[in-house]
Symmetry: C2
Subunit: 286 residues, 2 copies
Amino acid sequence: MFESAEDAAIAGVLALLLEVSGTPKAGNVDRDHNFPDLRFEHFLASASAVYPVFLKTARGKSSIGRLVLEAVESSMSWHRAKNVHFGCFMLLIPLIRCWQAEDVGKAVVEDLKRTSVEDSLAVLKAFRLSGARVMEVNELSLTEDETELRLVERNINLYDWLLHSPRENVVAMELINGYKISFKGKDVLLDFFTEHEDVNLAIVYTYHYLLSEYLDPLVIAKHGLEVAKEVREKARGVLNEFEISFDIEILKSFDEELLARGINPGSIADLTASSIYLALREGLRF
Amino acid sequence: MFESAEDAAIAGVLALLLEVSGTPKAGNVDRDHNFPDLRFEHFLASASAVYPVFLKTARGKSSIGRLVLEAVESSMSWHRAKNVHFGCFMLLIPLIRCWQAEDVGKAVVEDLKRTSVEDSLAVLKAFRLSGARVMEVNELSLTEDETELRLVERNINLYDWLLHSPRENVVAMELINGYKISFKGKDVLLDFFTEHEDVNLAIVYTYHYLLSEYLDPLVIAKHGLEVAKEVREKARGVLNEFEISFDIEILKSFDEELLARGINPGSIADLTASSIYLALREGLRF
């Protein structure tokens, strides 16, 4: 548990920084891998830029939707890339808001149930501003032009809107399920760190663990369900192999394969960030 | 110029992050190089941890010495390494305090002249707490046990104490000379970035430029004046060679040489951070 609002906000920023720095992290940006339009430095700028929003969040000011929108706006004013942290903000802002709760997962769910349609509209605006990618769904899709009208007409708050998300949207599911995946990720991270005392490797291991357990909706959206399943299976094999020798080259070659194929499991990276945040909350220091 | 105290604090944190991430940076920690007891992740934790202190600094709360001490304390509560950012804090905190001044260099000097012996004592405490390394001098040395007593007896404020520093202490000289080196570094950085649009390379170039112009007091302290001069000469040659081909391998092999010899020009890294801060202040976005 954190001792102050400042500490909760610091942990939010540090979780973003540790996540993006974790290398190798199959298919994603890390300290050694940039994409042409999305660089490691964009993540540094974005993480630095959101501290004031995280602090406001921890102090209980404003609403979830408004805070997610402010985070995206602040992030974008400090770099020239498009979406950097939308998924991370969606996961971290509710956690930081509830930093004083003992059962933070449950507290977030209760908090989400108290949101209004204004939160939904602000998240929609944040999403469009950031140019984030999501799966297409039939109704109330983040990419559907009429969504705004329908949200207002039916007075759908953020919780109800998240309930409408496709089951494959792990970030939405994580929010309505009280961070079950991130709590598991946190345990994996802390166990690995206790044994090996290497924070980068603990983060990398956690990322690949999550990749071996869950399908990434961004991979589904871009490459289809079969490719997403193939990635999960391969991650299982890679992780098993890695656990025998702890040879980093095994992870590097998997990274190279996914990068070459343009497969970027961004939602798994988001879940890694929330896992790190929970680990810091539980006292991880290195 | 920044528009708010928040922006000045963001730039302070981002300057720390961009500096340590800059790779290759001959002899120092960067995203691809850890020392056994000082890792890249320690810098991420330290940079995140000082946010509240930078924000307090930008809002004009507290005094320079007290803020440097609080920065070191906050930094150390988030990682287990010894000194990570002492030199950077000494350079950045006065700059962030004066973020609203048009002539920020002059404003810092005036600000320093208004300090009291309490600032000197707080900086001394911060230095000892962080375990930073400096050059030994004959009197009022940061490492001398009786310094505290003498500072109090003679009622020496931070400005006067900095005046007592050896000429080779570039961080102290930078403060009393209104950041002449950092302003030059800022120009070098912005010029390079304008031409090449690569923020990492612009930072790396700036670092090597500073290394080719100034002697690092930490290198003098650990290896002697002759080695420090040799490093400066070599940096000049390396920079000239790099400017012809822009082949990063030239910088990498210089980095490997210094790392192998245990030569870590930490004060030049500090000056790189203040140069980056000034570039962000002048509107650098990437």
